[in-house]
């Protein structure tokens, strides 16, 4: 952990901590969540407030009259959508830029992350898990790549050289070159930002979900979401498919492996219906 903290502390432009998010997660998981308290939380962040208002006026939610009041916007969108929007707005600034070390252009990691979040939400709904937590974990699962890409931009091909020479996974290549991998690093950052343990653990083990007990179901959702996003062609980098298969995710989630292709189609449909919602203005 010291090694991870030392690496994180070395980064000059650390993504801004999403202060509102852990508080909002806590609020929405409590029984007395009401719109007034959600408004109180987000009204002082102009970026969040503007995006919530904009989303409430998109085609999917728009009524005849434009909404200009935050409380009404939250009422129209619903708590779940507001929450997912706040997660997305908070993460957009970090995930949008190009991550050259991984061969990702501007917007690539963002698109991969949003698609993973949407797939996570869908899988959570199907398997009786918390949609908001699954969306958050799916969206943030590659946060560690943002940190690594800032440090190793200059020798960006070292990871790929290692990976191709050794025939190993990206995770194994990172471990050899850096001593740790992006899943560990992202997870540590989420811990430092006071995210729920379940999200941090699922992110840490999103390439080996069976080791994530007691959060192995959430980690399995994130593993599958990551795979589905790649299958949809959303946000590739170099050697995007260089990761190990984890057949156990299906038994952990109680899903038939034959469902996989159907899940790809369902995620694509869901992504298309909410695409405009997540066209976030930074």
């Amino acid at each position: 952990m010291q090694e991870l903290d030392a690496f994180i502390d070395k980064v000059k432009h650390l993504p801004p901590a999403p202060r509102v998010l852990p508080q909002l997660m806590q609020l929405l998981s409590s029984d007395d969540a009401d719109a007034t308290r959600v408004v109180q939380l987000i009204q002082y962040d102009p970026g969040l407030a503007a995006n919530v208002l904009r989303a409430s006026n998109t085609t999917a939610f728009a009524a005849s009259r434009r909404v200009a009041d935050l409380g009404e916007a939250i009422f129209r969108l619903g708590f779940n959508t507001v929450f997912q929007l706040v997660v997305a707005v908070s993460a957009a600034r970090s995930l949008r830029p190009a991550q050259k070390a991984y061969g990702m252009g501007e917007g690539d990691l963002w698109q991969h992350s949003v698609t993973s979040g949407v797939a996570g939400r869908l899988l959570a709904r199907m398997t009786g898990n918390d949609e908001n937590i699954a969306f958050t974990a799916g969206l943030l699962h590659d946060l560690g790549k943002v940190i690594i890409a800032q440090v190793i931009e200059d020798n960006s091909f070292e990871l790929i050289r290692t990976l191709e020479k050794e025939g190993c996974s990206l995770l194994e290549a990172e471990k050899r070159v850096l001593g740790f991998h992006h899943a560990e690093l992202g997870s540590r950052l989420l811990e430092r930002w006071n995210f729920p343990t379940s999200v941090a653990v699922a992110v840490r083990f999103h390439h080996m979900p069976s080791a994530a007990e007691p959060h192995h179901r959430l980690a399995s959702i994130v593993y599958l979401s990551n795979f589905i996003a790649y299958t949809l062609g959303h946000g590739y980098g170099h050697n995007a498919f260089a990761f190990r298969s984890q057949n156990t995710v299906f038994s952990i989630l109680g899903l038939d492996p034959k469902m996989l292709e159907k899940l790809v189609v369902l995620t694509r449909d869901e992504f298309e219906t909410i695409e405009t919602l997540f066209q976030i203005k930074a």
Binding site: G103, S245, E261
Partner: protein
């Protein structure tokens, strides 16, 4: 009547999206499709009729969602390949002259897993082409990379760009 001004030939670049296809007999057209991971890019070209088409399909079999196969045939091997061929034949391409090239079908590591959609796509493609009396002229399939595929309608040349490499490599020369 004044003569039409002569036009300097230019490349008309057409992007083919995921689960989409396009066919043309305009020699200026260069088709490009990005983000071929486990998806397959399939090009067809008839050098005599000068007809070319490019398809970017996602999944092997429309029986998982027959309605989707009808609404969006370019998504599945079994609906996409016949649709691509029909479109090419409508522009006077002939089966005996068609050159078929294939790229994509990436796989995650480890064989024998539930996630081998890339391989299942490729196997389904071979079966479908065989049923249609076609063989593959050139292919670059598998691995863990993502590919960009380009087809020039004028001469049928196909080039690939693999993520991580700056160069375009020929898959099929004119």
């Amino acid at each position: 009547m004044a003569a039409s001004p002569s036009l300097i030939p230019f490349d008309q670049r057409v992007i083919v999206g995921v689960a989409d296809m396009a066919v043309s007999n305009n020699p200026n057209v260069v088709f490009t499709t990005y983000s071929l991971g486990s998806c397959l890019g399939i090009s067809v070209h008839d050098p005599v009729a000068r007809v070319g088409g490019l398809l970017h399909l996602m999944l092997p079999d429309s029986t998982i969602d027959p309605a989707k196969g009808i609404a969006n045939p370019a998504m599945f091997v079994d609906t996409a390949v016949p649709a691509l061929l029909r479109a090419a034949y409508q522009l006077k391409a002939e089966r005996c002259r068609l050159k078929v090239c294939v790229a994509g079908g990436a796989q995650i590591l480890d064989d024998n897993n539930f996630f081998n959609i890339g391989r299942r796509n490729h196997e389904a493609l071979l079966r479908t082409l065989e049923r249609n009396g076609l063989t593959i002229h050139a292919s670059a399939v598998g691995g863990q990379v993502n590919r960009t595929m380009m087809l020039r309608v004028s001469d049928g040349s196909v080039t690939l760009r693999i993520s991580g490499s700056k160069d375009e490599v020929p898959l099929c020369r004119s």
